[in-house]
Amino acid sequence: MVESGPSTRRPRIVALRSSSSMIKFFLMVNKQGQTRLSRYYEQVDLGKRPALEADVVRSCLSRHKDECSFVEHKDYKLVFRQYAGLFIVVGITDTENELSIYELVHNFVEILDKYFSRVSELDIMFNLDRVHLILDEMILNGHVAETNKTRILAPLMVLDKLAEG
C-alpha cells in the first residue's frame, strides 16, 4: 500500500488546474438573480462577471432542497447556502473543504446578524461598504483570515464610533 502510494494516484476525472485550496469568489445574490454583493479573489474581467454570476445563480437555483449544497461548475466548486430569499454562493477550488466553507458562510451571516441586529437583504443593500469591510476581515486573498466574531467586528466598530463622535 505504501509502495503504491503517490505515484499511482490517478487524476480526478475533471482536470482541475489549481492545486492549492482557496476561495475564488464570494457572492450574495437574491432569488431574482440580482447581485447584492460580489468579491473576487482571482482576477475576473468586469465584462465577464455578470454572465458568470448568472450562470452560478442558475445552477444553484436548479438544486432541490434535499440535494446537497455543493455544485460543480466549470473548473471550480460552488458552495451555496440559502437564507430566506438570499443566496450566498462561494466558489472554491476542488481541494478546499466544502463543509468548512459551508459553515464559514454561516459564520459570516451570524456576524452580519450581530452587527445589524437581525440582518435583512435591505441592510446589505444599503450598507454595502460595511458588509465588504466585514468580509475583508474574514477572507483575505481567498484564504480564511479570521473567524473570531469580536475581532472581525472590532475595526468596524471603531470606525463607526469615530463617525458618530
Binding site: P6, S7, I13, T35, E72, L99, L159
Partner: protein, 1037 residues
C-alpha cells in the same frame, strides 16, 4: 464622496464599468478621514488589480499611513497592502511592515503577518530574509497572529524538507487548540477554532507525507482530534474530514487508519446529504491508498449510484473510476455511460467526463479489443457533436498506431473495428453523429483491406449510400470521399467511384468538387493510385525555409516584417495605453530611464525624477542601443513557433500511446459466503457490487453474493472469461510500456568487445517532460524504464583481469571518474555535461548520474556499473516520475522553481531469486534548464516590448581589472548559460530561455557601484528564480 464611492462600487458590481471613479477612489483614500479613507481603500481594492497603472499612485498614501501614529490608519494600510500591492514596490514598504511585526497591538501584528503572506505569494524571493520573523510570529502569544502565520507556513511547507523541525510546534499548537485552551470567543458553535484546526491538519499532512519519523510525532494528536470531534455539527465533520485526509496522507498507522475508515463509513451512510457527499469525496481520496476500503462500503456505493442527486452520482463515479481494474472496467464504463445518457443537458460535465473516460478506455484496462471498439461506438454515438475533437482524433491515432502491442493484436483490433462499422452502416445510419461517421469512413478507408473476403466494392457501396444521406454534412462527405479514393483500386469499386465522382464533380462545394475529381482520376488510373498511396512519407520543410529569399526580397522592398499575432496584439494594446514616456526613445533605453526608485530611497517616486533621468538618457540614447534602421530579417518569433508546432505534434503522438497500467491488484475474488433469502432487488445490487469490486480485495475478503444463485454463477463465469483474457492484456501492457518509453535513450554497451565493460547505460531524455505532458492521465503514470526489448538483461561478470584493473580500483568504491567518463556514450560526451557524481552504491552495484545539456533538452543520464565479480540480472530502473512529471511540468510551464528533486530506485538480482533495490535521489536545478537565447539587438528590442511585467533588482558588480560590467556579465554567462546580446557603454542586454522556449530577457546597467538589472519574461516567476541564481553566482565569484 463616500456615498458616491459606494454607488460606484454598486455600479461595478452590477457589471457597468466605472473607471472614471478609480482615480477618485485613490483620492478618497488619500484625503478622507477614518471611514471615508477606509471606503476609499475598499473601493481601490475592488476596482483595481495588481497590474493596474493607477496602483502606483496609492503607494505614497500607503507609506504615509503606515508611518501614521493613528492605529486605525495603520490598520487600513496593512489591510489594503495584503489585498493588493504592486510587486515592484514591495521593497519600498517592506521595512515598515517588518517593523509592525513587533507592534504591541495584536491586530497590527496580525495584519502585518498577513501582508507578508501576500508578499510571499507575489514575490517569494523578496521576503526570503525574514523567515526567522515568521517563526517568531508562529510563537506569538496571541492566537490570532499565530493563525495568520500559518498561512505563510502552509505555502512554505509545500516544500517540506526544511521545516520538519517545526512539526513539534504544530503538533503542540493543535493539541492546545483541540484541548480548548483558546479563549472562548474563538469558538464556533462550541467547537474551538475549527478553521484553525483545519489549517493545522493540512500543514501536518504536508509534513508527514512519506516521512515515517515525522508522522510518528503526530499520531497521538490526530487520534485526539478524531476523538474530540464527536459532536453532531457540520463543522466537526469538516474537521473530521480533514483529519481523515491527513491520516491517509502521512505514513500509515493501522490503528488510526481503522478509525479513519470507520469515520468515513459513518459519513457515507449518513442521511445528511452534504455529509454523504463529503464521505464520498473522502472515499475517492482514500481508495487510492487502499482500494479494499471500497469493499466495505460497496452496498452504499451502489445505492449512491442510483441517487437522485446527480452530484452525488458523479462523485460516486469518481470513486469507481479510481478502483477500475481489468476485471471491473466493463461494468464501470457501462455505469459511466448510463450517467452520461441522463445528464445530457450539461455539455460541460459531459465533455469533461469524456476526457476522463478516454484514457480509461484506451489504456490497457480494456478487457478485449471487441469490447473496446463497442464501447467506443457507444461513446461516439452518445457524444454526438458535443464531443471534444480530441477524442476521435486520439481514437484514430490509436487505431493507426495500436497500443504499441504486437502487430497481430493490432490487426485484430482493426478488423474488429471494420466489422462493427460495416454492421453499423448496413443498419440505419440516420441517427449517427457526424463525427462518428467521419471516424467510420476513415477507418474503413484505411483498414478494410485487412478483412479477408471483403470486397472493396461492398465497402464503397456502403460509403456511397452514406454519401447520399441528406443529413450528412459536407465535412463528413469529404471524409467519405477520401475514404473512397483509398478504396477505388478494385474493379467493381472503380465503376462505383466513377458514378459518385460524376455526381459530385458538379457540387457547389468546392472542396467536394475537388475531391470528386481526384477520385475520378485515381479510380481510372490504377498505377497513379498505387503510386499516390505509397507516397506517404513526404518530407515537409516545416521551417518554410524555401520562402526565406522571398521574405528577404519583400523586406528589402520595404514590406513590414512579420509579427506573431500575440505580438501584434501586444503592440496594439500598448498603443492604446497611456504612454508615460516621452516620444521617440527606443524602448530599452526608456525603460532604463524609468530608474524610478532604488531600494535605498523608496519615497523618491515622482514623475519629475524619471523625466529628468530621461533627458540624460536621451542624449546617450542614440549612442547606446541602436534599434532603428537595422535591416530586419524573418521574424524569429514566427519561425520558432512553427518549429514548436511540429515538435508538439510529434510529442502528442508519443503521448497518444497509452499511459502505463497501474499494476492492477489481482486479488482472488471468489465468493465464499452463502446467503439465504434475499430479495430480488438486493440480489441485483449485490451482483452489481461484486462485479464492481471484483479484483479489489485481498484473498480473504468476503462477498455477499450467494453461491447457490444460478444467475450469479453465470456472472462469475463471465468474470472468469475476463480473467483468461487478462493475461493477454498484461502482456500487452508490458510491451506498451516499452513503446511509451521509446524516447528513453537506451544504449547497451554490453557487447562492446573493445573494452568489454560490463556497464549498462540508460540515458533518460527529458525531452518529453517539457512537452505536452499536460494531458492529465499522463502525469501520474509510473514509468519503468525498460532495458532494451526483453526487459531482462544479463550483466556479465568482468571477464579478463586486465580490463578489470582500470575499471575496479581495489579499496575504493570501484569506480573512478575517468573510467566513468570513458564509458560515457559517445553521442552524449560531445555535449556539455556536468560532472558524473556517484549517487548511491552497494556491494555489487553503483549508480552515478550526470546531466547533459542538449540544446533542446536536459538529458539525465544514469550510469550503472556492476562492481562485483558475479553476474547480475533482472535489472530494472524506476524513476519516480511523479516528481518528474508533476514538478517538471510546473517547473517549466506554470511556475519555475529553483530546484526539484528526482528520486528513483534500481532493483536487481545478484543472487537468483533475491531482489535487491538501490535507492537514489538527485537534484535538478533551474539552471539545468536554462539555455542561451541567441538574438540580435533588434529582435531583443521587439521581444522586450512584447512582455509587460518586469522585475528589478540590484546585483553585486565584480570588481577586477578591466570593465566591471563585462566581467560581471561574462561570469553570469559562464555560470548560467546566458547569451550576451550586446554591451554598449554602461549597459548590457542579456537573453536566455527556459526549456523548451520561455525567454527571459535581462537588461543590465551600472548604477552607483552596483548592477541594476531589469528582467522580463512571459513566465511571471522565472525572473525571480533566475535572480536568485544570479545573486548566488555573483556571491561566489
Amino acid at each position: 464622496m463616500k456615498e458616491i464611492m459606494v454607488r460606484a462600487i454598486y455600479c461595478e458590481m452590477l457589471g457597468y464599468e466605472a473607471s472614471f471613479s478609480y482615480i477618485h477612489a485613490i483620492k478618497l483614500a488619500q484625503q478622507g478621514s477614518a471611514i471615508e479613507k477606509r471606503v476609499g481603500y475598499l473601493a481601490v481594492s475592488l476596482f483595481l488589480n495588481e497590474s493596474h497603472d493607477l496602483l502606483l499612485l496609492l503607494v505614497n498614501t500607503v507609506l504615509k499611513d503606515l508611518q501614521s501614529t493613528n492605529l486605525i490608519e495603520v490598520c487600513m494600510a496593512l489591510t489594503v497592502v495584503s489585498q493588493l500591492f504592486p510587486k515592484d514596490m514591495i521593497p519600498a514598504i517592506l521595512p515598515l511592515v517588518e517593523e509592525k511585526l513587533t507592534n504591541p497591538k495584536e491586530i497590527i501584528r496580525r495584519k502585518a503577518v498577513l501582508a507578508l503572506h501576500k508578499f510571499y505569494l507575489i514575490a517569494p524571493n523578496q521576503v526570503q530574509h525574514i523567515h526567522s520573523k515568521f517563526r517568531k510570529a508562529l510563537c506569538d502569544k496571541d492566537p490570532g497572529v499565530m493563525t495568520a502565520s500559518l498561512h505563510i507556513y502552509l505555502q512554505l511547507i509545500k516544500n517540506p524538507d526544511s521545516y520538519k523541525d517545526l512539526t513539534g510546534s504544530f503538533v503542540a499548537i493543535l493539541r492546545q487548540v483541540v484541548g480548548g485552551k483558546l479563549p472562548v470567543d474563538f469558538n464556533y458553535h462550541n467547537v474551538p477554532a475549527p478553521w484553525l484546526q483545519i489549517q493545522l491538519l493540512r500543514i501536518l499532512s504536508l509534513l508527514g507525507k512519506d516521512d515515517q519519523s515525522t508522522s510518528e510525532l503526530m499520531y497521538e494528536v490526530l487520534d485526539e482530534s478524531l476523538r474530540r470531534a464527536e459532536m453532531n455539527h457540520n463543522i466537526t465533520y469538516a474537521i473530521l474530514y480533514e483529519c481523515v485526509k491527513a491520516i491517509y496522507t502521512i505514513y500509515p498507522k493501522s490503528e488510526l487508519l481503522e478509525k479513519a475508515a470507520k469515520c468515513i463509513g459513518n459519513f457515507v451512510v449518513s442521511p445528511k446529504i452534504n455529509l454523504k457527499y463529503l464521505g464520498l469525496k473522502a472515499l475517492t481520496y482514500v481508495v487510492q491508498q487502499d482500494a479494499s476500503l471500497a469493499l466495505q462500503h460497496q452496498m452504499t456505493i451502489i445505492e449512491c449510484l442510483d441517487h437522485s442527486d446527480s452530484i452525488i452520482k458523479r462523485e460516486t463515479l469518481e470513486v469507481l473510476f479510481r478502483i477500475t481494474n481489468v476485471k471491473n472496467v466493463a461494468v464501470i464504463v457501462e455505469k459511466m455511460l448510463d450517467f452520461l445518457k441522463n445528464v445530457f443537458m450539461e455539455p460541460d460535465i459531459l465533455f469533461l467526463l469524456y476526457v476522463g473516460c478516454f484514457p480509461l478506455l484506451s489504456d490497457t484496462y480494456s478487457p478485449n479489443n471487441e469490447w473496446f471498439i463497442q464501447t467506443m461506438n457507444v461513446v461516439f454515438s452518445l457524444g454526438g457533436e458535443l464531443m471534444h475533437p480530441d477524442i476521435p482524433n486520439n481514437f484514430l491515432r490509436l487505431l493507426a498506431q495500436g497500443f504499441g502491442s504486437e502487430e497481430e493484436e493490432q490487426q485484430q483490433l482493426r478488423v474488429f473495428a471494420v466489422d462493427s462499422y460495416l454492421t453499423l452502416l448496413e443498419s440505419d445510419t440516420a441517427h449517427l453523429p457526424q463525427r462518428f461517421l467521419q471516424v467510420i469512413s476513415w477507418a474503413l478507408g484505411e483498414f478494410s483491406y485487412l478483412k479477408d473476403g471483403l470486397e472493396p466494392c461492398k465497402v464503397t457501396k456502403l460509403l456511397a449510400k452514406l454519401l447520399d444521406e441528406r443529413n450528412v454534412t459536407s465535412e463528413s462527405r469529404s471524409w467519405i470521399l477520401s475514404a473512397m479514393a483509398k478504396l477505388s483500386a478494385g474493379p467493381g469499386a472503380a465503376a462505383l467511384a466513377l458514378q459518385v465522382s460524376e455526381r459530385y464533380s458538379s457540387s457547389l462545394d468546392t472542396v467536394l468538387r475537388q475531391q470528386a475529381l481526384e477520385l475520378l482520376h485515381l479510380s481510372q488510373d490504377p498505377e497513379l493510385h498505387a503510386r499516390f498511396f505509397h507516397l506517404w512519407h513526404v518530407q515537409v520543410d516545416s521551417s518554410l525555409s524555401f520562402l526565406d529569399s522571398f521574405v528577404s526580397e519583400a523586406l528589402s522592398q520595404g514590406a513590414a516584417p512579420y509579427k506573431a499575432p500575440h505580438q501584434r496584439q501586444e503592440e496594439l494594446r500598448q498603443e492604446k495605453a497611456l504612454s508615460l514616456e516621452p516620444y521617440s526613445i527606443s524602448l530599452p533605453v526608456s525603460l532604463s530611464s524609468c530608474s524610478i526608485t532604488d531600494r535605498q530611497s523608496p519615497t523618491l517616486l515622482s514623475m519629475s525624477s524619471s523625466l529628468s533621468g530621461n533627458s540624460n538618457e536621451l542624449k546617450a540614447g542614440s549612442s547606446t542601443l541602436k534599434l532603428e534602421g537595422v535591416k530586419r530579417v524573418w521574424g524569429k518569433e514566427g519561425y520558432l513557433h512553427q518549429q514548436d508546432a511540429v515538435e508538439e505534434a510529434a510529442q502528442v503522438e508519443e503521448a497518444a500511446t497509452p499511459a502505463l497500467p497501474l499494476s492492477p491488484q489481482q486479488g482472488g475474488a471468489e465468493s465464499q459466503q452463502t446467503h439465504g433469502d434475499l430479495t430480488v432487488v438486493e440480489q441485483e445490487k449485490q451482483k452489481l457490487a461484486s462485479s464492481l469490486f471484483v479484483g479489489l480485495g485481498s484473498q480473504n475478503s468476503t462477498f455477499l453474493m450467494g453461491k447457490s444463485d444460478s444467475t450469479s454463477q453465470q456472472f462469475r463465469r463471465k468474470t472468469r472469461a475476463a480473467d483468461s483474457t487478462s493475461s493477454g492484456v498484461s502482456e500487452r501492457s508490458s510491451s506498451s510500456s516499452h513503446s511509451s518509453c521509446s524516447d528513453f535513450l537506451h544504449n547497451n554497451l554490453l557487447e562492446d568487445s573493445q573494452n568489454s565493460l560490463n556497464t549498462q547505460k540508460i540515458g533518460v531524455s527529458n525531452g518529453t517532460h517539457e512537452g505536452p505532458v499536460t494531458q492529465s492521465f499522463q502525469t501520474t503514470s509510473k514509468e519503468t524504464s525498460p532495458f532494451l526489448d526483453a526487459g531482462m538483461v544479463l550483466v556479465q561478470p568482468c571477464s579478463p583481469q586486465t580490463e578489470l584493473r582500470d575499471f575496479v580500483q581495489p579499496g575504493s568504491s570501484g569506480i573512478t571518474q575517468t573510467s566513468l567518463r570513458s564509458q560515457f556514450p559517445p553521442e552524449l560526451s560531445q555535449l556539455p555535461h556536468s560532472d558524473i557524481s556517484l549517487l548511491s552504491s552497494d556491494h555489487s552495484l553503483s549508480l552515478s548520474a550526470c546531466r547533459a545539456y542538449r540544446d533542446d533538452a536536459l538529458l539525465f543520464v544514469i550510469i550503472l556499473s556492476n562492481c562485483s565479480q558475479s553476474s547480475t540480472n533482472g535489472l530494472s530502473v524506476q524513476l519516480d516520475c511523479k516528481h518528474i512529471f508533476e514538478t517538471f511540468s510546473t517547473l517549466i510551464q506554470v511556475e519555475p522553481h529553483t530546484q526539484v528533486t528526482v528520486a528513483g530506485s534500481v532493483s536487481y538480482r545478484a543472487v537468483p531469486g533475491h531482489t535487491q533495490t538501490l535507492q537514489f535521489t538527485d537534484k535538478l536545478f533551474l539552471t539545468d534548464f536554462i539555455r542561451p537565447l541567441t538574438l540580435s539587438t533588434e529582435e531583443y528590442g521587439k521581444l522586450w516590448l512584447s512582455f509587460s511585467q518586469d522585475v528589478r533588482q540590484n546585483l553585486k558588480l565584480i570588481q577586477g581589472e578591466g570593465d566591471p560590467l563585462r566581467a560581471t556579465l561574462s561570469a553570469l554567462k559562464e555560470q548560467l548559460q546566458l547569451h550576451i546580446v550586446d554591451i554598449i557603454g554602461s549597459e548590457g542586454i542579456v537573453a536566455c530561455r527556459l526549456l523548451p522556449d520561455s525567454p527571459c530577457l535581462l537588461h543590465c546597467r551600472i548604477h552607483g557601484g552596483s548592477l541594476a538589472v531589469w528582467l522580463r519574461s512571459p513566465l511571471l516567476s522565472l525572473p525571480d528564480c533566475l535572480l536568485y541564481y544570479c545573486q548566488k553566482t555573483l556571491e561566489e565569484c
